[in-house]
Amino acid sequence: MTRNNLTAAEDRVCELENAFASLFPGTDLDTVLSSSRSGNLVNPARNTATLSAKKPPTEELKEQENRDASPALESLPREADGFDWAENAVRLSELSDGMAALSINPEGAGYLGGCYKVSWSTKSR
């Protein structure tokens, strides 16, 4: 019985946290809660000073896309076939963790665009 109650309570907390994050993206829940405990509840919709300095995820993604649209000149290969890649030759490499092919050298590693940052506004579980 107690175990079921605990699980139900945990599920509800999770649901509430997710709803909060959807309604107030970029807001730190802990900050809001501690403001509530001190009797000075801050409304995240109104008071921007308590919001963590994060833009909404979609806006940040668009900005990253714009940055990605024109990579720095030095990261382009010399030749037109510079993005060509071949991983079927047996190669001995110092790095054996499987990430050796993702080198930052633009020759022979395929096209690698900028990394998209994903802003998670809920805490990871």
Binding site: A69, A80, D84, Y111
Partner: protein, 194 residues
């Protein structure tokens, strides 16, 4: 089985009947490579060459013609090698694109669908969906990348629509490759390279 028709006949048929609608290759370069005047792309040439022959034979053939089956058989043996999955270059994308179209014409639409999938993945790994305005490559090289990308885009989105399947292509804002230019192809010249 000895060939009684020279390969050149099928190459000509390809460029006469197929290429004018689907200009995914650069004819002067392909012919120069075929004639041994320009270096052939290592590894990917046999596949491209046999697909071109298969399509040329198919364009020429009447219903009973089995000539393209011969080249299709050669293609099948080549694509059994893992290299089409384990390497990426423009020639391979062209070959896969043509192979996809050929298999669909030969009533193997799902095979064609799979080849398209691989072609799109390979194209993305080569950045064909991007323009790279600062990249110092020739206009011809740039234009060929665009031709292959947009041809691939049209074929893959077309296949998705035809089969009622999701379109798995980049969103509009992600691709910035320019449209293809509406220009005449240059005449053949010897010693042609990229």
């Amino acid at each position: 089985m000895p060939l009684v028709v020279p390969e050149n006949t099928f190459v000509n048929a390809y460029f006469t009947y197929y290429h004018s609608t689907y200009p995914f290759l650069y004819e002067p370069l392909f012919r120069s490579q075929f004639e041994g005047k320009s270096p052939r792309p290592e590894g990917s040439w046999p596949l491209l060459f046999n697909v071109v022959l298969a399509l040329g034979a198919w364009c020429m053939g009447e219903d009973e013609s089995a000539m393209d089956d011969y080249f299709d058989e050669r293609v099948a043996r080549l694509s059994e090698q893992r290299s089409i999955f384990e390497s990426g270059n423009l020639t391979l994308v062209q070959a896969l694109l043509l192979l996809s179209n050929y298999t669909q014409k030969r009533n193997r639409p799902n095979t064609g669908w799979n080849y398209l999938g691989l072609a799109v993945r390979m194209a993305l790994s080569l950045g064909l969906h991007k323009e790279f305005p600062n990249w110092e490559i020739s206009l011809l090289q740039r234009e060929m990348r665009r031709r292959v990308w947009w041809g691939l885009f049209i074929f893959d989105s077309g296949a998705s629509i035809t089969f009622g399947r999701p379109v798995l292509l980049p969103q509009h804002g992600i691709m910035d490759a320019s449209q293809v230019l509406n220009i005449e192809e240059e005449v053949s010249r010897p010693g042609l390279t990229w």
